[in-house]
Symmetry: C2
Subunit: 191 residues, 2 copies
């Protein structure tokens, strides 16, 4: 799960060579994932090191800045999300877009830090946003050309709408799905 060496979105921190070092590296990554999800962007680095059962020095050696750690945790996942866009490509236009967005919300809903950062203008997240656009725009265009999305809607509108929904704190998964569908129905052409 964490040992995937894929060069996510071009921003990378190199994984150490020695086996013990790799174990620590992975433990840090997974501790950070937890902490960021729980406390958002500002999670304590010392706490992350503690969770990982590792000295604070080890954290800093692997990830010199908070941003490095943050990027390592999330960019890979965003990458996967983008990849999911091609997996839905064989569905009908509307269903494909819907499925992808649903997956996006599902993913982001539990990641407080992602939500905080999504609207920020940090370097790495500009990349992430761009990637999301590159992945989603074709789905959107296809649906629009097929006439199942009103012509006055922009993909940017949709993405931001869905980003917002992501942080809305629903009572359960079911409501989340329901509301997303409600909102997406607003995209259909009015008769």
């Amino acid at each position: 799960m964490t040992e995937n060496p894929r060069p996510a979105l071009g921003v990378a921190v190199k994984r150490p060579q020695r086996t013990d070092a790799r174990r620590n590296f992975d433990a840090l990554l997974s501790a950070a994932r937890e902490a960021f999800a729980e406390h958002g962007t500002g999670a304590s680095l010392e706490d992350i090191a503690r969770r990982a059962g590792v000295g604070i020095g080890t954290l800093y050696r692997n990830f010199p800045t908070r941003q490095d750690l943050f990027d390592s945790v999330y960019l890979g996942e965003i990458d996967e999300l983008c990849a999911a866009a091609v997996q839905v490509a064989d569905l009908p236009p509307w269903e494909a877009l819907e499925a992808w967005l649903q997956r996006f919300v599902e993913y982001a809903a539990t990641k407080r830090a992602i939500r905080e950062e999504l609207n920020s203008d940090s370097e790495a997240f500009r990349l992430a946003r761009d990637a999301m656009y590159a992945a989603g725009q074709p789905l959107f265009d296809r649906a629009q050309e097929a006439g199942v999305i009103r012509t006055d809607a922009l993909f940017d509108d949709v993405l931001r709408m869905v980003s917002g929904l992501t942080g809305a704190g629903f009572v359960d998964e079911e409501q989340r799905t329901r509301v997303l569908q409600l909102a997406l129905d607003g995209l259909r052409p009015r008769p």
Copy 2:
């Protein structure tokens, strides 16, 4: 603007008697409003005191806990928002609901702290949520009875959807309005 003594939502901190003390009290409130909007719930209290040109002791005397300050800043405003629900009551059902929600988004969009807290389960914000429900539900019901809102939508869905949109970070006010309208269109009955 800040000298309104209305007992907002029942949670209150009493405003001091002496004129100089009242000046400080108001200065704190307005500094806090700024700071909370800017840095969210975790804004530094010492910074707020500084902005208000007041000693930290004065802040703590007036607002013993962060929550007290927070409540004093926001509950009054929420109260106003609820009051706005009756002001739109003479519009047609759909337009009334739309206008009220639009106003809600407009208000909350600039208040980072509100967004953070809206989904929390803090005591005071349960009150606020309840008040919002009491204010908005009638608008919603009326629209639903008038047949301009699909029957499978719940008011809770709508409120959460709109809460979410509130934190979506749009490029400009125009986009915010547009997206909200898009999302709300999803509430209309499908032909």
